[in-house]
């Protein structure tokens, strides 16, 4: 595939060739180059802001990998990103653009809180019920868009975005109404879940919780589903060529709904993960935009389980690391957002550039008769 671009005012023409198979070395190299470039440009920015970039990066390192405490914080951020990211990647593999991760997380969180505050449930059953309930909640919420797309041909991007708003306002209503902590009626928060509903802490000195195993389990299950079950074959088939899939006897509409249900279910699980693992109660902004960041995680991970795992971890580090630079008194807080955005753009751009060979050729004299 060769594409040629003519830039009329320059004496060169640029042709771009797409490389379909990337060597494994280049696959590893592309995010590394992006990271190094990002750090270099970031250094200039910190310098311009009047601080010492070396100190800034020392803080970045300390804040992410410098101590056990900070490293577990990275993992805590990475867990939800990996789980939702995998869910979104599954939907994307079926060419269903699920932008609704955020809403699906919130529906899962609401369901988790609701079940978690039912005091009459037996303690040993509590955590399994919460996880199952939040999965089902996210699954149903996601399926709505799946049904709308396969039955009525509605654009899933619009439907999922709209459903995000519905879920956000439902959550806002819930913590102010039905689920509010009756002992503190002025704060928009639910009451704390009983401690037997918590995801157990893994290390006594840190906040790291059993959600870590949840994330790893999700990645392994996704790998099995996508590459070892007939259902995974169907997901990929309808994503790559729905016509041929239908011709091959696959029920495209039903497969799509199930796929989106699975995708939403994983997002719902993150709702439970945040409630039972981190906050232990429902409050505003519980998801911190994980549903949106996870889209980037999914794309950056090339929609593959291992890729999503790595990308999720990378983004966890980016979020925590940026926060730690912010704590340096001399660095403006807004710079952190600039830094985050820049790394992201660089990673995406370099990833794309690696997929192309670019040739620049000097233009020949024009041979036209006019």
């Amino acid at each position: 595939m060769l594409k040629k671009f003519e830039i009329s005012f320059l004496p060169i023409s640029v042709s771009v060739e797409k490389v379909t198979d990337l060597s494994p070395l280049k696959k590893i190299l592309s995010p590394l180059i992006a990271l190094i470039l990002g750090l270099l440009i970031g250094a200039i920015l910190i310098l311009l802001a009047g601080s010492n970039p070396l100190l800034g990066y020392q803080a970045l390192y300390e804040g992410t990998f410098g101590s056990l405490d900070s490293f577990t914080e990275v993992l805590i951020k990475a867990i939800p990103l990996v789980i939702v990211g995998m869910g979104i990647a599954i939907a994307f593999q079926a060419s269903f653009w699920n932008i609704g991760g955020e809403g699906q997380i919130l529906m899962g969180a609401i369901m988790a809180t609701w079940i978690g505050t039912m005091k009459f449930l037996p303690a040993p059953l509590m955590l399994p019920l919460i996880l199952l309930g939040s999965f089902v909640a996210g699954c149903l919420w996601g399926s709505i868009a799946g049904i709308f797309k396969s039955k009525f041909g509605l654009n899933e991007v619009i439907v999922t975005i709209m459903l995000n708003y519905v879920a956000i306002y439902l959550q806002i209503y819930m913590v102010r109404g039905p689920l509010i902590d009756k002992s503190m009626p002025f704060w928009p928060m639910s009451e704390y879940l009983p401690s037997y509903a918590f995801l157990p802490r893994l290390l006594s000195t840190t906040r790291l919780h059993a959600g870590l195993f949840l994330a790893i389990g999700v990645i392994i299950s996704a790998w099995i589903i996508l590459y070892h079950l007939p259902f995974g074959y169907k997901i990929q088939a309808i994503g790559l060529n729905p016509s041929a899939a239908q011709y091959g006897g696959i029920n495209v509409g039903w497969t799509l709904i199930l796929t989106v249900g699975l995708s939403g279910g994983l997002a719902g699980l993150v709702g439970a993960n945040e409630i039972c693992g981190v906050h232990h109660r429902l409050l505003d902004n519980i998801s911190a935009g994980y549903g949106y960041t996870a889209i980037v995680v999914a794309v950056l991970g090339h929609l593959k389980p291992l890729g999503v795992l790595i990308a999720g971890f990378f983004f966890g580090a980016l979020i925590v690391g940026a926060d730690s630079i912010k704590q340096m008194a001399t660095t403006p807080a807004a710079l952190v957002l600039v830094f985050q955005g820049m790394i992201l753009i660089l990673v995406l751009v370099i990833d794309v550039l690696f997929h192309y060979h670019i040739h620049v050729v000097r233009k020949k004299e024009k041979g036209e008769s006019t």
Partner: protein
């Protein structure tokens, strides 16, 4: 005033340029010269094979050919939508280089596409303004523009309502907007791709009047069609394309339906295959009074009935767009039947899902092999199990068995001589012939009782065509039924035991394949009346 003067000067200059050409001995240069244009498509299809033709100014030139002959591809190249692999085009003395639609517009080439390129939610005026070359009018409600449109529609007798929304217009009116759009851009060469396909006979008559008026005013018109009657009544000269080659150009006054049909479908048979007599057995497929609609609710298949027996190839001949595609899709369950019945091996499958029909023993080689027949981004092995991946032995205890899938793929690759570096290569990297062999291998591996093959050799080279044809004959000898839908008469005549001809969604004629008069067949396909 100044502007007009400039324009006039420009025209005079142009004439001078033309005159210098004439003086330098290039006076034979026609208005449009296409030299040796060649175009390949992915999948090994040669769409255009060294096409050369020249068109004079003010001429209505018909480009006649069956579907897949390369007419539309050629026009898309002329309009800059595709780049030719080889060859050059000269318009009005200018070589078209690095051709794009924008350049084509600036050079005065206008195109009315088969599927109109109009924005449905916009008004007629807005659609005409969209994509105008600079200087663009500032306001979309420009009265100046509206005035010019009115002048044009008076001049060519093309009434349009500038403020009407496209979605409210009939198809004929939409086409008129497309023509006005081309005229507004001062197009000198207007390409019409199958313009009558969507029109009623009355609308066709009006269109032809307009075209003649335009030609009389010095516009050059390329009229693409596969309908003999229309071509004969509108054009000055006719160029016939077949399989990407120019077969010939004749003045319309010398053309007869018979002669054109001959040129279109070709008389000579490239391949001679043995078709041993084969006693046909009991009925495998019985179709009665089958009807179906296209997406827009237009009935395109109107009560078709036929049977296919074991050990028999039934050929369905017809020019594309006469319901054959829908016949195949209804039979395979991709679109629902609105009326009628399909009985496969004694079982009513009229309402079954595609999978039910596959299980009942229906195999299908789709006409559009990249869109329907395979998943180009899947490996050969994965494509080969598209219709059986969930079954034993490819799935055991709910888990896919990659070794079994690859093993079976390797067997099929050997058996069907599929040329691929390995079974793990993506299908999109294979040539068209090998993709078709892969599809055939998959369908035959299911052990079907009937094989439905649509355009099985379209775009394939001779070797691959011969292979596929031999396989179809072999299938017939294995006492299976074959329903062959093809626009290629040669294919139909070489392979079929019986032939049915479809025209406008109905079966026009059924006949045994013995001493068939190819001219008569061509005429039946083109909808001509036979006395």
């Amino acid at each position: 005033m100044g502007k007009q003067l400039d324009k006039m000067l420009e025209r005079i200059n142009k004439n001078e340029v033309m005159n210098t050409y004439r003086k330098h001995g290039t006076s034979s240069m026609a208005y449009l010269e296409i030299c040796e244009v060649t175009k390949h498509f992915p999948g090994g299809v040669v769409a255009l094979d060294h096409i050369s033709l020249s068109v004079e100014k003010g001429e209505i030139r018909a480009i006649l050919g069956e579907n897949g002959a390369g007419k539309t591809t050629l026009m898309n190249i002329l309009y800059g939508l595709y780049q030719p692999d080889k060859g050059k085009m000269i318009l009005d003395g200018k070589v078209l280089q690095g051709h794009t639609p924008q350049k084509a517009l600036n050079l005065g080439i206008g195109m009315v596409h088969q599927n109109f390129m109009l924005v449905e939610a916009f008004t007629v005026l807005e659609n005409i303004l969209v994509g105008l070359p600079p200087p663009q009018p500032l306001l979309l409600t420009s009265t100046r523009v509206e005035k010019r449109i009115r002048e044009l529609s008076r001049k060519y007798n093309l009434p349009v309502d500038c403020q009407a929304r496209i979605s409210d217009l009939s198809v004929g009116e939409q086409q008129r907007v497309e023509i006005v759009k081309a005229l507004y851009r001062d197009a000198q060469l207007i390409i019409l791709d199958e313009p009558t396909a969507v029109l009623t006979p009355q609308e066709v008559e009006v269109l032809f009047k307009v075209l003649k008026e335009m030609a009389a005013q010095g516009k050059t018109i390329l009229f693409i069609s596969h309908k003999l009657k229309e071509v004969c009544s509108i054009s000055d000269r006719i160029t016939v394309l077949r399989a990407g080659k120019v077969i010939g150009t004749i003045p319309t006054s010398e053309a007869t339906h018979h002669k054109l049909a001959d040129m279109m479908v070709g008389k000579e048979v490239i391949l001679k295959l043995e078709r041993p007599t084969c006693p046909s057995g009991k009925i495998v497929l019985k179709v009665s009074e089958l009807s179906a609609c296209k997406s827009r609710g237009v009935e395109v298949l109107k009560g078709v009935s036929f049977v296919v027996r074991e050990g028999e190839i039934l050929g369905v001949a017809g020019v594309s767009g006469n319901g054959q595609l829908e016949l195949a899709e209804v039979l395979t369950g991709l679109i629902p039947a609105t009326r009628g019945k399909i009985i496969l091996s004694g079982k009513d499958i009229t309402g079954s899902l595609p999978r039910g029909r596959i299980d009942a023993g229906l195999a299908y080689i789709p006409g559009d092999r990249l869109r329907w027949g395979c998943i180009p981004d899947f490996s050969v092995a994965n494509n080969l199990v598209l219709k059986s991946f969930w079954k034993d032995p490819f799935t055991i205890h709910g888990l896919l068995q990659p070794q079994k899938i690859v093993g079976s793929a390797q067997r099929l690759i050997r058996e069907f001589d599929i040329r691929t570096p390995s079974s793990k290569v993506e299908v999109k990297k294979l040539s068209g012939g090998n993709i078709q062999k892969m599809i055939l291998a998959r369908e035959m591996s299911l052990g079907p009782s009937i094989l439905l093959a649509a355009q099985p050799s379209r775009g394939l080279d001779i070797a691959a065509t011969e292979y596929i044809w031999q396989r179809l004959l072999q299938t017939r000898e294995e006492k299976k039924g074959v329903l062959l839908i093809s626009e290629d008469l040669e294919e139909i005549l070489t392979l079929s035991d019986r032939i049915i001809v479809m025209y406008e969604g109905r079966i026009r004629k059924e006949m045994p394949n013995e001493n068939v008069d190819i001219n008569k067949l061509g005429l039946l396909m083109a909808g001509a009346e036979i006395g």
